[in-house]
Symmetry: C5
């Protein structure tokens, strides 16, 4: 899984019905590249998340026939981008 | 999923029967690399689209045995390439 | 799918039986990297082809248990490498 | 499979239920990029491990429906990062 | 499939039982990156091989539930690294 940051929602009036009613997010990886992912965890702009790719991304939606190759797997607590570590309270 | 721009159709007289009658598009990603995708959404040259890769690309066609690893998932509304955001009316 | 050019056949006396009697080709992508693909379309050195990767590559052979992750999907008509477009007669 | 080094655990209060109770690790590859993997082998910070990606990563957990695309496959004995070889006693 | 050169075996005392008794090899690609693959063809250090990735790598072992994403598919006869061609006797 990779670590990315949420940019915002993605609006597509004309999209494949296989995506069903899933919510789409634009994410940015650490190199600045943009990606589109299905979100089921309610992440918001600015959140650091980890994303699941490949066939596992389909299973991450309730229906494995959903047309996604990238799904948000979880929101990372207190991520420090510079150190690549979590600044958790001890 | 990745964000790409439609260049145009791809004509292949001699192609694998497993692609069936699906329409092919040449797409360009943000780094300038070219890709070939199956299109089921009727996208046109200049459109910004997001594409689904891997096994999900096969499910995006009505028949999951279609021979594709990249399928157009939807046309993005009002994409601003420079900002990487959508300029939607508010 | 990606666009590559056929370099030539690949001879491997000692190869996995799961490849069956499929013909192998060495291909070169636009960055100069070499790849090995199964060919079922009879492509020849110098041809521009598009290739299917991942699980779809297995379906491209008649038997989905064939051991390939890259299969030639079709021969591109009149490809212009420099423009990234097809110079089709109008 | 790729060779990576364990940085530490990853804490996500809000994560997808499909990951079940699997333990997550942050790993660093040889280029310095960070990845998130499921760990079933009890690896610790500083260990060199090899990781399994794609659909095989799901099978590496006891339940193939687990939502992972990267799972630790084993801990490498006495890895020498500079030479890319193992300094095993003879 | 990609073309790589065998560096040597990989010893992991603590490894996932899903790899069963398969032999592991460290391989080096043309860019110098290291990879770990399952070997079923008896390749030796210095051999040039082509490797199968993704779900096909699992099928390359007798049991498709084996935990691998990279398996040696065959040993290439008389590979000339510089020309990217085979110097076969005519």
């Amino acid at each position: 899984m990779d670590i990315m940051r949420v940019v915002g929602p993605l609006v597509c009036t004309q999209r494949h019905s296989g995506l069903m009613h899933n919510s789409l997010r634009v994410l940015r990886d650490r190199k600045g590249n943009l990606h589109v992912a299905v979100d089921t965890s309610g992440c918001r702009p600015g959140n650091w998340v980890f994303v699941v790719s490949g066939s596992a991304a389909r299973y991450a939606c309730n229906d494995p026939s959903v047309l996604t190759d990238l799904t948000v797997g979880g929101i990372i607590d207190i991520w420090n981008e510079k150190t690549g570590q979590q600044d958790l309270p001890t």
